[in-house]
Subunit: 438 residues, 3 copies
């Protein structure tokens, strides 16, 4: 490690990091050894608050930026505490090795301009082995968006934590914390990417894998986006492994895959307050959705009680538009107040096959409960009540699997009784879950 | 990082860490920046032996305590080597960045008093983002407990590694080693907790999640408790993800969930010497148990050959008391000496539904072997023998699924033949695994 | 940490590390405290290039070698770029904390002689808690092997990254990068080993667990071996957990288990260009293969277009020789050009049970597509084309499960239609996946 050429890390860590990168680049130019590389550097961020006023531009491979604390604490809960009570609070802000993103940005224009860290390089080879580890990126505040929401609850501020604009190889994100960003991590054209063991929450969108990509993994993260954003999104990826994540609300979706193929969504715990938790759309094909736990229940917290993602209860908790996917051995819990179903009186749909052929849906178990709110929605108590399933409940009628006429050639096994599965048996294969006394 | 105000880290690292925390707290009080936080600190423990005579009290958020080595080695094996051979051993003790817990404690009184690290704070918000990483907590010795066991084999010493007494958010435990503690990690009221990639073994109890909690994960750990304790225990948790753990003996149970709901136990490798490996009790509901490998075989090691957890072979390897759980695609291996079954001549039970309705049990495969001990139980050889399944075996009669009269409305599919499943077909749904020639 | 006694880390880091280990060993000898251990040390490798001319010998427990960057970049792609274009490339070599392995070795002789790091110790106890973290081991070059392959494409150079020759306990490999080694990680006789979150690619063989072992885990790695080698190999292991890995081509196999028992291969994403992706051989028994995604498609890259692993399409993507295994809820995609099947006109086999009794194969879904090459195999474009499944395809006839006469007593459920499963129904149990209109 070196001392940086210039700048004040507390006042603008962006300027300081850029000066270190410039120094690294200059030192690399001197290498003449035939096997000698340009091995990069590690930039260490000690615990502390660091304002970032200048965007960091990373255009060298093998750079590792490392802190000593992911520093997450809930800004969302704190902003909804009356301000006169703030002096009594132990902390008001996230901590750890904390970057305070002060970049002025307008989401309506170039989105990359609002990124604290921009990774971008032209030419060959692709930029490799950039690593982000164990520090906190805090967007600080959201802002009014014209809705009825309190400005700090909009999830809008035009700020992105890390934006990777160029094709990249073998990047790693480990142990990071992201909070109060409109976009936490946006990555284009990833190969062999690893996003592992991070805390990415209270951000409009958490993980967005755009462009295309292959052979990557999103594993073992704690994730929760805002009500209009993505918790995990990917498009045009092949061989993506999404596993062992605990994805909590709100998130318009928990996992949203567009034209993704030959990928896995397995062994995750997914929790949402809205339909459309897991979406495989636009010819998403040959994917495996297995051993996941999906819970959709009711928003318990007053500030968001009337917020939703715009999808009604006929959308499906899991939507499939594409061919030859496998949906095996998942548990679905649908826990709602039947008086609030949309459209009114609707029978909610759990798995909906809207397009495509040859999907295989087997051994999925759905639990559906009609829960009447009795606790007056007093935020945390209601949340505990919902989590512990201690509220009074009644059975709820559902369609466990709907195969629309635009989809055919599918196989549906042991994923609902005769009465719960809605499909054309002349063009699909079907075996009902046996009924009692069978 | 700072040099600490006072104390000798080798003689009492507890006093030293407390002095650093006091220093951190004092520095935080000076912050007046409106967006300025109290970002915390990292305390680094280099490799070495550090006695801890004073309990560490953590009452600040964003503290990271980090070492350079989990330092596990088997004290259990070493204590069972005759002491006259000790001079020939390369090492006698665990290592790495090693805390030697010297706290005098009596398990009969306040359990938190015996903790090396106590996390406790009143007021709001909950304490956040405390991280423990990559060091070793060694309880050093067990003590006589009145049983026939050698004192060093009792798993009793009144010592706890880390005890989190207050509600907490986004804590992380990574890369730690725990050895010879009565309780390794005890955490009350956890939100978004991550216990990931640790080595927690040769402790009376390994992970205990008490009180209540939500949206947490226990992933990718190597774990093994003592014969009377918990390897992984949780109560009143919702949305807990327990996955990718390798849980080895002894442990009275491998995973024990009490009143836990909407959680996942998926994709673990569980190994026990006793019945009652995986317990979902006291209205544990809507949980997913999928893609786990459960092996129950015989104790091979002489010092523990007559020790068990008090449960007989009718208890079930997996016990369910609760509603609407899913048990899908698990492998069970029951490998026992039929002459030692309890009660004598019993037909062992694999999955037992004792209470609750609406559980879904599908596509579970059970292998049952009667193995006669031939190796004279010579510890390691027998262990290898057992592990490699090279002992002579014969088929063993079992009940793969027992649904008791107190449970009904369940669905049991392809999890045993007609002869292997015991249930009332008038109040449950059933499809037998087809027999040969079907 | 200490400054090392002698040597130039840039010229021969092996000599330097050995001198540090000698220093550690000497300091340990002074310990006389009755509870006092020999806690080991951490050796830190900053980012940079370090030649290793002297093999490192590790014979102390509790040693952690840690860098600041896994440093992977594709040497394979770079070596296949015409050398006259190299001056235009940003980097030519891997980076991070990079060890350049300069050991002269001949694979024909003692394989351990070619290891950069050799872990070896006689006596008791077993060596414990050695940790390798976050640095890069680069074998630099492959060499001509008499085949038609370009010397840099042979995956042969007699070099091993880390070779653990002695029985060991609680070792950890985390965040490492391995590239251009004939063998990346070779470990004999492992107990409670953890290989987690590494990048091990462009090596002849990636992970080889030899001898025997127990209670270990290989989790959350990005892995890809050469066309003649193992990506993940284990023999005589019990209780091994292989999960959450993303294993990409080439690799003669993705996971190869020999006489492994009571282990799990669950929840992985496996991708290969050849049959024999997942092999359970030589009495591999009581293992669980569940929730994996297996894709076999065509080699798209010109330099390897005619390379294969020598197995024809009747070998099976998954081969089982052993008893009482469970194969549940996996997705298989077979995407090949039917004109290139071997033997010509063969009907490819997906799951083949060749020996053993009592295996349970349920709820596996196979997709089979005949893809005609149209893109002229222009490397990367074809790769993207294949990954995104955008090529023109037609259905392909397959045998989803073949149970050979030498295997019996198996149960095959919902893993293929009547026409797709080939077995003797008088000695096996069978239920076909229902057909359309059933």
């Amino acid at each position: 490690m070196t001392t940086w050429p210039f700048g004040d890390a507390k006042d603008d860590i962006g300027e300081v990091i850029n000066s270190i990168i410039a120094d690294v680049r200059q030192r690399q130019n001197g290498s003449v050894d035939p096997d000698g590389g340009k091995p990069g550097a590690v930039i260490y961020i000690p615990p502390g608050d660091y304002r970032l006023r200048t965007q960091v531009l990373i255009d060298v491979s093998f750079l590792r930026i490392e802190g000593s604390g992911h520093g997450f604490t809930s800004s969302s809960i704190r902003f909804n505490v009356p301000e006169e009570q703030w002096p009594d609070l132990h902390e008001l802000w996230p901590g750890g090795s904390r970057i305070l993103v002060e970049i002025a940005a307008d989401a309506g224009h170039d989105e990359s301009a609002g990124a604290a860290f921009l990774v971008k390089r032209t030419g060959s080879p692709r930029i490799s082995s950039v690593e982000f580890s164990n520090f906190c990126i805090d967007g600080l505040h959201f802002r009014a968006d014209g809705s009825d929401l309190h400005p700090e609850n909009t999830y809008v501020n035009g700020k992105t934590g890390i934006y990777v604009a160029s094709a990249n190889d073998s990047f790693r994100f480990n142990g990071m914390g992201f909070v109060y960003l409109e976009h936490a991590v946006t990555i284009y054209n990833a190969d062999a990417l690893s996003i592992h063991d991070n805390f990415i929450a209270e951000s409009g969108n958490c993980i967005e894998l755009r462009g295309w990509g292959q052979a990557s993994k999103v594993t073992d993260n704690l994730i929760g986006a805002g009500p209009r954003g993505y918790s995990i999104f990917a498009e045009n990826h092949g061989g993506l492994l999404i596993t062992a994540n605990n994805v909590f609300p709100r998130g318009a979706s928990s996992v949203h895959l567009r034209s993704v193929t030959r990928s896995s969504v397995t062994n995750n715990r997914l929790h949402s307050f809205y339909p459309g938790m897991l979406i495989l759309e636009q010819n998403a094909s040959e994917n495996l959705v297995a051993a996941n736990h999906l819970l959709r229940d009711r928003e318990p917290w007053a500030p968001f009680i009337d917020v939703d993602n715009g999808r009604d209860d006929l959308f499906g908790l899991l939507l499939i538009e594409g061919a030859n996917n496998s949906v095996i051995g998942n548990h679905f819990s649908e826990v709602v107040d039947s008086r609030k179903l949309r459209p009114g009186g609707a029978t909610p749909i759990i798995i909906r096959l809207a397009e495509g052929v040859g999907n295989y849906v087997a051994n999925n178990h759905t639990v559906a409960l009609d829960v009447r709110s009795t606790s007056g929605d007093s935020a945390f108590d209601a949340q505990v009540d919902a989590l512990l399933a201690t509220a009074a409940t009644a059975p709820l009628d559902i369609v466990t699997v709907l195969v629309e006429p635009s989809s055919s050639g599918n196989t549906i096994l042991d994923s609902g009784t005769d009465a719960q599965v809605d499909l054309d048996r002349t063009v699909n294969a079907f075996r009902a879950t046996p009924g009692i006394g069978s």
